[in-house]
């Protein structure tokens, strides 16, 4: 009889099925959620599960229905301070990416060895503050019941309204959030109760949109119903300073947050080095270019060899090394490079001036968001060395990684790569390439996702001595999102 059991999952020992690694990572996240909930429970703080692998288990029968690093729990408002102190005592760290408005959202993120827990003491959706959702919050608590996982879980009807508000509030950013609502709807809720709760929460429109559309609406609509919803939406948009351009907000916030992470206000005292014949100055809090930069530049150049005057896009350029090295070797290419860190973009622009190159453009912002509209459908190659550290396997992010460069929360480290692959389809021309560098086992995990998005693997190579595999994928067609 073929009865087999492996005692561990070692992603580096091929062949490991992608689904197996995905399941192991989901269990990792599930175990840590329960551990944190038990810590809170010991301090007599009730914990209500909002999102995470245990919710997936409830809705789909498995904690690994889709890859996600989202774990959200709700505690009573009056116990917020105690809950925060319990988490800190248990070894959690207040995540600096909470920004300045976390109190208004009644939520804060905590991190312990690569596991992120979003602690809520109220609900919020998108930029709407938590006081808008008091009624829904009361409903979630009122009918919550203890579940086998040790936390409380809301009744199905309140859960549906919450999930719909969440999906609509975050503009249907992830397809799975809409799927969650429909999965909950398939568990035979009492629709009359759903209607009552949604009316009390002024979220009838949100529930209908999720159930009817199954995807993002063509235009942005207020999360809450009627004139009240429009008023709250405009009020909170103004209150949160969203009328101030994002780049300016980042410019104000970035030095403060880098300082909080120990990299100083100004970044002075960084380093200077010559890579590939170009001189790079990098302030503190920005990655120094090195071997990875030259390897990635070489891969990009190889892929761009047969293309005339290619348009190239780098995501997460840091101090601009790869973009500048590529531009130096291919004077006919135009390189556009994005970077989230204001400090890094400043360094990249200074390095550009020092290089004397003219065909490189740096933009500040998330993934492909800051790119000019005119580039849509015109890009030959999108390439990136995104943070892809798998927290579940490494025990957490490297503490030396500067703040605002480590943003992947998915336990397999591939959350950002998945987002980039989805969004890159808008910018790549047919036959355009996506070039990523990942650990060997991560390719096994992500390839099925990339194929679903319409990519076909073209070339997977590992430079000698490199722990990474540089993979290029050709965009064949725009598959389902």
């Amino acid at each position: 009889m073929d009865l087999q059991m492996d005692s561990q999952i070692a992603p580096e020992s091929a062949p490991t099925r992608p689904a197996t690694v995905g399941a192991a990572l989901a269990l990792w996240s599930q175990a840590r959620t329960r551990q944190a909930a038990a810590d809170l429970d010991r301090a007599r703080i009730p914990v209500l599960l909002l999102k995470g692998p245990d919710l997936q288990e409830r809705l789909y029968g498995t904690p690994a229905a889709y890859p996600s690093g989202d774990v959200d729990v709700l505690v009573p408002r009056r116990l917020r301070a105690r809950a925060q102190s319990v988490l800190v005592r248990a070894g959690f760290r207040f995540d600096p990416s909470n920004g300045l408005l976390w109190r208004m959202s009644a939520a804060a993120s905590y991190e312990r060895k690569g596991f992120f827990l979003d602690l809520h003491w109220g609900l919020h959706a998108g930029h709407l503050p938590s006081w808008c959702f008091r009624s829904l919050e009361r409903d979630l608590w009122a009918n919550a019941k203890p579940a086998a996982h040790g936390m409380l879980e809301p009744d199905l009807e309140s859960l549906i309204v919450f999930l719909a508000v969440h999906a609509a509030g975050h503009r249907f950013e992830r397809v799975e959030w809409g799927e969650n609502v429909r999965a909950a709807a398939a568990l035979h809720p009492d629709w009359r109760r759903v209607g009552k709760i949604a009316r009390r929460a002024r979220a009838v429109g949100a529930v209908r949109r999720v159930m009817r559309l199954g995807e993002a609406p063509a235009r942005e609509q207020p999360v809450l119903d009627g004139a009240y919803g429009r008023f709250v939406s405009v009020f909170s948009w103004l209150g949160r300073g969203h009328f101030v351009p994002r780049s300016l907000r980042d410019r104000l916030r970035d030095p403060i947050e880098l300082w909080r992470s120990g990299f100083g206000f100004t970044g002075r005292g960084g380093s200077k080095r010559v890579v590939g014949g170009l001189r790079f100055a990098t302030p503190r809090g920005v990655f120094r270019p090195g071997r990875l930069a030259t390897d990635l530049a070489r891969s990009v150049l190889a892929q761009a060899e047969s293309r005339t005057a290619p348009v190239l896009v780098e995501v997460g350029t840091g101090a601009g090394a790869v973009a500048l090295l590529v531009a130096k070797e291919r004077p006919d290419a135009t390189v556009h490079a994005t970077e989230l860190s204001v400090r890094a973009v400043g360094a990249a622009k200074r390095n550009l001036r020092a290089s004397g190159l003219a065909s490189v453009h740096f933009y500040e912002g998330d993934l492909l968001t800051p790119l000019p509209y005119e580039l849509q459908g015109r890009v030959d190659i999108v390439f990136s060395n995104l943070p892809t550290e798998a927290a579940a396997l490494t025990g957490g992010p490297d503490p030396r990684v500067p703040y605002r460069t480590y943003l992947g929360r998915d336990p397999d480290g591939l959350g950002l790569a998945r987002q980039l692959a989805g969004r890159a389809r808008t910018f790549l021309k047919p036959g355009g390439m996506l070039l990523l560098m990942l650990e060997p086992w991560q390719w096994d995990v992500i390839l099925p996702d990339l194929k679903r998005l319409g990519y076909a693997p073209a070339d997977l190579q590992s430079p000698e001595g490199s722990p990474f595999v540089y993979g290029s994928l050709r965009l064949l067609g725009k598959g389902p999102a």
Binding site: S7, T20, Q30, A31, R34
Partner: protein
């Protein structure tokens, strides 16, 4: 003898295999489809002998061989704390 998966074990069932995480040791384990079928028998409240009968009926393999393999498999699960006997609980 009846068994069940230990309470400290988290599980994710896939097509053709099952991943188990022992929260006591933080160790992952993967069992193949046959192992998954054995565990499913225990989940359904069946005894080891009933599980053997069911597997013999499904696989057509000799009963002695199936009993030996299942017993070894159960011992491996017990030694890793993944399974517990029902009357122990």
């Amino acid at each position: 003898m009846r068994y069940r998966v230990s309470k400290s074990v988290l599980r994710a069932s896939l097509e053709g295999e099952e991943v188990l995480l022992s929260t006591e040791t933080d160790q992952y384990h993967v069992v193949n489809a046959t192992g998954q079928a054995v565990i499913a028998e225990f989940d359904a409240g069946r005894s080891l002998e009933e599980a053997v009968e069911s597997l013999v009926a499904d696989s057509g393999k000799p009963v002695d061989r199936v009993r030996r393999d299942v017993t070894e498999f159960v011992q491996a699960l017990l030694s890793r704390g993944l399974l517990e006997t029902v009357d122990q609980a």
